[in-house]
């Protein structure tokens, strides 16, 4: 038996989480270093997976399969396709940056406050989330996926509720109340989604008799497993609802601004760049493969919701006064693009959507982490409390601008490639929706540049006049992300090469072919 590489990518951070939690309370710094090293080792494993993965090989690779709960056909089955491998790599890549950026976020509060912050717990929880997210990207057994899809809510709940952003306008009690509200809201929304999915998971078992994604998908494709139209639709909706809460899709999005606003910036990145990706990933993997006909049936409605997300999220971002909530609404707009790309049912749309997940992860991390550095300096999340920062902290302002330009999908930076692919892929089948979605690029420029203008330019506000520029630790966080944004904007081929074959398989799962160019079709 070969080395279970995929299991290792999840077990390593899981064990690391336990070990970090077990570090004695006094050795806070040691716990941080341990967590960082574990996350780097996980990244090394993820890179190994990436290297070992052959884009032109079998659809699922590095597979592992063991009987688990034999009576109910639940198996421990792992395997990655190109899409999974890309997101696995993204997750493993971002966690070290998240840990490093949050280095002091869980330090004990200043004397005078009775609240105690378990530093070890903070980093252990991040690693726990990493482990669960990774296994969600790898699981090819529906039940196994479901367990971790749900279980990751627990560490996330504590990360949001237990380690809030210290920059808060209200009193301590007020802050605690809002944080608790955000955490509970996060949990309830996702819990409801999860419970509905659970019903659908049971239903799927009733119909198919097992939980194996590959077996069911194959049986669906060659016609040996028939589902009644209505059954398929109900099951699809059950799965989709859970994923749409997590992604999140309008109108199920309102938990995200609360959660991202109240959490510390690194945790906000964890939510939007890592955890939420499981939702869009699962749409592509489970909804389309298990329920191809129902997916096509629901496409028009989903596209409209995605379009609303794009425009609505962007407009709401324009209206925000809180930096982190602004980024949250921008993410809602971006998730709209991702979902639109998935359900456009074209190769360009789906490759673009996958690429979008990766690029959005990197660009949001860059923008949000720098925003976090900014906020920690001034102790306020309100845009109006800033002004003229670029004069006193030019490097901070510069990286913030690059993060912002990535968020508005400036050509030359990575998100442009994915956004354009999504747009062109959607336009090819649904021209009107594609055209309306391009309004998103104007609105994105609006909210990003207004944010930059109000915080970074103009006369220097007295409160920011002594603000230090980025420190070495912060530069180490930001610089690689900036380099990646430029590199993947100029040369995205390494990612598209991995993703393309997987998208091709998905397209054939749903029995869809790309529309032919008009000129060619006319011949």
């Amino acid at each position: 038996m070969s080395f279970p590489l995929l299991t290792a990518t999840a077990v390593l951070p899981a064990v690391g989480a336990i070990a970090t939690a077990a570090v004695p309370a006094a050795r806070r710094t040691a716990a941080k270093w341990l967590a960082l090293l574990v996350s780097l080792a996980t990244l090394a494993l993820a890179i190994t997976v990436l290297v070992r993965f052959d884009p032109d090989g079998a659809r699922y690779q590095l597979t592992e399969s063991h009987a688990w709960i034999a009576d109910f056909g639940v198996r421990y089955e792992l395997g990655v396709d190109g899409i999974g491998v890309a997101l696995l790599a993204l997750t493993a890549l971002l966690i070290p940056f998240i840990i490093l950026a949050g280095w002091h976020d869980a330090d004990p509060l200043e004397t005078g406050s009775r609240r105690w912050r378990p530093t070890q717990g903070f980093f252990a929880l991040i690693l726990a989330v990493e482990a669960m997210v990774i296994i969600s990207f790898e699981a090819t057994d529906v039940f196994l996926f479901y367990i971790f899809f749900e279980a990751m809510l627990i560490p996330m709940y504590f990360l949001i509720g237990g380690f809030g952003d210290r920059a808060h306008a209200g009193s301590d009690e007020n802050a605690a109340a809002q944080r608790s509200y955000a955490a509970v809201k996060f949990l309830l929304y996702n819990l409801v989604g999860g419970l509905i999915m659970l019903a659908a998971v049971i239903g799927l078992y009733v119909v198919a008799g097992n939980f194996s994604l590959q077996e069911i998908a194959e049986a669906r494709a060659n016609g040996t497993l028939d589902m009644a139209t209505n059954t398929e639709r109900w099951l699809f909706l059950g799965f989709f609802f859970a994923f749409a809460v997590k992604a999140p899709l309008w109108p199920l999005h309102t938990w995200l601004p609360n959660a991202m606003g109240e959490a510390t910036a690194p945790v906000a990145v964890l939510i939007t760049a890592v955890v939420d990706k499981v939702g869009t990933f699962a749409m592509l993997r489970f909804c389309l493969q298990l329920f191809p006909e129902a997916s096509k049936w629901a496409t028009p409605a989903i596209l409209v919701l995605a379009l609303i997300s794009i425009v609505y999220g962007a407009l709401l971002a324009v209206g925000q006064r809180d930096i982190k909530r602004l980024v949250a609404y921008a993410s809602i707009s971006h998730f709209g693009f991702i979902i639109m790309g998935i359900f456009a049912m074209t190769s360009q749309g789906q490759s673009g959507a996958t690429l979008y997940m990766v690029n959005h992860g990197i660009s949001t991390a860059a923008l949000m982490l720098v925003a976090g550095f900014l906020i920690s300096r001034r102790g306020s999340r309100l845009i109006a409390d800033y002004g003229g920062v670029q004069k006193v902290a030019p490097v901070l302002a510069g990286t913030f601008l690059i993060g912002g330009l990535a968020t508005l999908s400036l050509p030359g930076l990575a998100p442009f490639v994915s956004e354009f692919l999504v747009l062109v892929g959607t336009f090819a089948r649904y021209p009107v929706i594609g055209i309306i979605a391009t309004f998103g690029i104007v609105l994105a420029a609006l909210y990003t540049l207004v944010l930059y203008q109000r915080t970074m330019t103009g006369p220097v506000k007295p409160e920011v006049s002594a603000m230090p520029d980025l420190r070495m630790r912060e530069l180490v966080v930001v610089a690689p992300l900036v380099v990646l944004l430029i590199f993947l904007g100029v040369y995205p081929k390494p990612v598209t090469d991995i993703v393309n074959p997987a998208v091709k398989s998905t397209m054939s799962d749903v029995h869809k072919k790309d529309p032919k160019p008009e000129v060619e079709a006319a011949k």
Binding site: L188, I202, Y205, P411, F439, E520
Partner: protein
Amino acid sequence: MENLIALLIAAPLLGAAVLLTGGRRLDAVGHWIGTLLAGASFVFGAILFADLLGKDAEHRTLTQHLWSWIPVEGFQADVTFRLDQLSMTFVLLITGVGSLIHLYSIGYMEHDERRRRFFGYLNLFLAAMLLLVLADNYLLLYVGWEGVGLASYLLIGFWQHKPSAATAAKKAFLVNRVGDMGLSIAIMLMFTTFGTFAFGPVLGSHEKPGLVTGASEATLTGIALMLLLAACGKSAQVPLQSWLGDAMEGPTPVSALIHAATMVTAGVYLIVRSANIFNLAPDAQLVVTVVGAVTLLFGAIVGCAKDDIKKALAGSTMSQIGYMVLAAGLGPIGYVFAIMHLVTHGFFKAGLFLGAGSVMHGMNDEVDMRKYGGLRKYMPVTFVTFGLGYLAIIGFPGLSGFFSKDKIIEAAFAKGGTEGWILGACALLGAAITAFYMTRVMLMTFFGEERWRRSETPSPAEPSVEPAAETHGEHAEPHPHESPRSMTIPMIVLAFGSVFAGGFFSIGDRFLHWLEPVTGHSHGDAPISAATVTAATVTVMVVGVTIAWLQYGRRPVPVVAPRGSLLTRAARRDLLQDDFNHVVLVRGGEHLTRSLVYVDHTLVDGVVNGTAASVGGLSGRMRKLQNGFARSYAVSMFGGAAILVAATLLMRAV
């Protein structure tokens, strides 16, 4: 030889990277690094130009493929460059004028502590602009297109501590983004129509058009109009013109390079490059000519009313690009002349802006022409070079602008029919107004009383001047002086171009023969002879100059602007376009987003929460139990799993 093409872009790109990440260490030499790399790019351009000249006209296209950029099933975008006569013309203009303006900026920005960064941005601009004109497909062009937009944004807002500069920068980017929507949609349409957006397959050559011939006219009209929208944004054409005046917040070399000579002409490049699409979409061409004609009058009228020397020149830029767009809309009759005017305009407008910068440099950064006057004695070099640029732009016989503008007016008449008459008349009227406003600028700046002295000794008869004098008392009183050599040399070189370029291009139709293989050319069907048009052009020019002289030369210029007629007041406010934008877009947008924030908070959140009200109530009770959510959640998970097991067992049993 084609391997040199990438170096054209690489040199300034390297400069930008080094200067923007190099840190303070490079402060002392940064401007020289930037200038040298710009110059290197010009040298590469000159070598390539010599190489092209050595080939026969039909084989003057070089391509260089670098790497596969976005390969996705059914979708292919490459990083490939194309150098032909059209892009070569731009390369020489961009790197030539660009290098001169780098040189000029060494002196102009001498006292700015962020000079290194300024040169980094300038180099970034050069790289992006070269990418724009060298790209071999529309998507790569888009990268250059937004790249110059970014550089423009950074440079307009270079003095970010001024809120007006930051606002102007944002406005420029946003208005351009509206144009970018057009470019996006055009590329998407090309993709769905042709399956590609590379120049070669889509456009073909002017003798043998590519895939465009297979598309319906409706589709081509759609693509063309979307390209026009993009061009309107970048080239400040009506209705997306509002950003250019505000863009004058940027340092003057930026106004000269980006907002006069090169970037703002990118829209004309886009249209001429896409000639084969426009040729098959006559309705779209008509719209292009209308946009050009409207803008050339719009800009000229605005130019007449501005007291800010740079804003007057900005109005003029808008107007001159209107001429180019008009010519480009005429099809093969006008393409060559659009580009020819673009090049001569690059010389004289860059020269005029540098002259304005030189004046400001000597006048404590004062931009109000009402506070200039009589400066010719103090700044002889600036006066002469600016004067030559002035004569060029108004189309004084023999100078550059005369040749290029005259050709466009002829071409407009040659369009034929009623259209031809209307367009020709607009172009002629524009020429008269151009002569008027440029004479006004010239007279107010270099002739007449030395009005800047008045602020020192306010006469008691004019108490209204006193407050102004007081506010200016804080500054040192202006001591107009000639600018340093690094600034005057570029002005002199550009003045040479302003004088001789047009004649050089026109003798033996050199420019026509050079560009024709790319764009094609036809003579059209002129209802009146070329000589008549030339005579008319010169006549209206003289009329314009005379009226301006009567108003501003013979009579003293008041320091405080008179109230003016309704039209003057509207023109001062950019013909109320900004007021419209403010009321409709800014105010309306604010209301919209504000109400949406409310709706999101109450309605959307409320409804979704309400649907889950029972769960919410449950949560309240759970919190009272003080056992934390983990435990209750674990219970619910366990319950869920139990249900699952039960259900499966049940199904088995059945």
